[in-house]
């Protein structure tokens, strides 16, 4: 599953070889432009759209993947945006809804480009270079390291629950079992964190984050 999110992060293209800070700046400026330009200057949006698609095609991200991701994304932005005309008695607010959805999709495509040309490790190194506090980067790195472990643990618990056929029951009961699953997952994760902390201490951890030379 993890492969789906940044599937093209490790391919090679001009976009991937750009300096990481430049990628971040490019993405942020396109998103800001997309949100800040008033709708009446609509040709600017055409330019931005072309820029985004050019970026994706240069990075070698196939159109099918973009469409797949957009289809997952659209219900989220759509369900929130539809509340605008819905709250106005269905006769106003449509233009604002379209505007929000369009801007949302544009920003989403830009984020998608960034995720697919900049692997998470590279983002961490970049954040270090941008003088983000070491402890923040360390926690992010730790999270990225262990989120897959916790996911696996959750999968095991789900399987165990299915095997023992804890699935039916009233809505209240199902919510209870699911919440208890999260609770047990939390306890196991914190136990794991304690074990990891012990292992870190025995290797000389004193709370100070130290990095190898991050010149790459």
């Amino acid at each position: 599953m993890s492969d789906f999110w940044d599937r093209y992060g490790r391919s090679v293209s001009i976009c991937h070889r750009m300096p990481p800070v430049l990628k971040l700046v490019l993405a942020i400026s396109v998103i800001v432009a997309g949100v800040a330009i008033p709708v009446r200057y609509w040709p600017a949006y055409g330019v931005l759209g072309c820029l985004v698609f050019a970026g994706h095609s240069i990075a070698g991200i196939p159109l099918g993947y973009l469409i797949k991701r957009l289809l997952i994304f659209l219900p989220f932005v759509g369900s929130m945006a539809i509340s605008l005309p819905l709250s106005q008695g269905l006769d106003r607010g449509w233009d604002l809804m379209l505007q929000i959805m369009f801007r949302g999709c544009l920003a989403f495509l830009v984020s998608l480009w960034l995720v697919n040309v900049m692997p998470f490790e590279q983002l961490l190194v970049t954040l270090r270079k941008l003088k983000v506090p070491a402890v923040v980067v360390a926690i992010l790195a730790f999270m990225y390291r262990y989120v897959f472990v916790v996911w696996d643990e959750l999968d095991k618990m789900r399987t165990a629950r299915k095997v023992r056929s804890f699935s039916g029951g009233s809505l209240w009961f199902r919510w209870k079992t699911l919440s208890q699953m999260i609770g047990m997952l939390l306890i196991r994760s914190l136990n794991r964190a304690e074990r990891i902390h012990g292992a870190m201490c025995s290797r000389g951890w004193d709370g100070e984050v130290r990095w190898l030379d991050d010149s790459d």
């Binding site: 800040a36 509340s83 402890v135 926690i139 989120v147 959750l154 199902r174 208890q180 994760s189 902390h197």
Partner: protein, 325 residues
């Protein structure tokens, strides 16, 4: 729940970003002296857990399903400061891995879920817990109430941000507030129930985790600031309910009373929560928000009582299942 880019204007994004940056910076500063060298593993693992916990879908009898948000949960285990940092970093990672939630809107999302959810939620939780004299019941009730109020407060702040992003001429904000608050009163009930169940399981198995987070410095200044923060969250939640009255009904109390009478007559014919279609029609804001507020408060209260009673009886079975890996 995540706000995407495009909803809020750039200036509002920058303002919320500045507030969030300040709050998270302060949290980072405070976090280190409460967790010490355990900061990185504990906060990181909590972040991973919330990340994974949000993958568990809770059925609500409709095609869509809900999930945990986790601000109050993180604060209940790690305390307000580390909780705030953990939720913030979850939001950052969700953007950086999934493109979930906007980049410019990150400040607003952090304000809603991390600052209000963890710091505000913790203040409410501790206050309620103290009022009820601590223990299992107090802890669970505190977390249930805190989770509901934190979601409502977030919706009030979102409405304010939305109002500041667009000019008043564009459309009627009273209606959008109504829809948002009504929806969030329901979403908040879901969050409250999940948080209550999770906290009660943890209290059964590892009460030390929660007690450690709750046993913060008991100086006068700390308790005063907790009460102030809790009051702020409650005020925001109340403001969420008051907003439609204020902006949708400009002609004052008389018209409120008038609409209440008419609405009450109609309401008797049509079932308790059944009238979301009626929200777009003019004049229903007051009623639907009141119903959502009072109904939500009752459900949250019932959930606090029920969860407090339901869990102890079944705890041994769960423990047996969970430890038999």
């Amino acid at each position: 729940m995540h706000i995407q880019d495009g909803y809020l204007s750039t200036s509002v994004c920058l303002a919320t970003g500045a507030i969030s940056l300040g709050a998270v910076g302060y949290s980072l500063h405070r976090m280190k002296d409460s967790l010490g060298e355990r900061t990185v593993p504990l906060t990181g693992m909590m972040g991973s857990l919330i990340f994974a916990g949000q993958m568990v879908n809770f059925p609500i009898g409709l095609p869509v399903s809900g999930h945990l948000m986790g601000g109050v949960l993180a604060a209940a285990i790690l305390g307000p400061w580390a909780g705030c940092v953990a939720v913030t970093l979850v939001l950052v990672a969700q953007w950086a891995l999934f493109s979930d939630g906007g980049l410019l809107a990150l400040g607003a999302n952090v304000l809603h879920m991390a600052v209000l959810g963890s710091i505000g939620g913790y203040a409410v939780m501790t206050t309620v817990r103290k009022l009820l004299g601590g223990g299992f019941r107090g802890t669970v009730a505190g977390s249930v109430v805190a989770a509901w109020l934190a979601v409502l407060a977030a919706s009030a702040v979102f409405c304010l941000e939305f109002r500041l992003s667009y000019s008043a001429a564009e459309f009627d904000f009273g209606n959008i507030f109504t829809l948002m608050v009504t929806l969030h009163a329901l979403i908040g009930v879901g969050e409250a129930i999940i948080t209550g169940f999770v906290v009660s399981v943890i209290y059964q198995q590892r009460a030390d985790l929660i007690d450690a987070a709750q046993a913060s410095r008991n100086s006068v200044a700390a308790s005063v600031s907790r009460v102030v923060a809790a009051g702020l969250v409650c005020a925001l939640a109340v403001a969420a309910f008051a907003a439609p009255f204020a902006s949708g009904l400009p002609d004052g109390l008389d018209s409120v009373a008038e609409r209440f009478r008419i609405a009450a007559a109609d309401q008797s014919a049509s079932g308790l929560f059944a009238d979301y279609d009626a929200i777009p029609m003019a004049g229903w804001q007051g009623l639907s928000v009141s119903v959502a507020g009072i109904g939500g408060a009752l459900v949250v209260f019932a959930a606090a009582v029920l969860i407090g009673r339901a869990i102890p009886m079944t705890a041994p079975t769960i423990a047996a299942e969970a430890t038999g890996e």
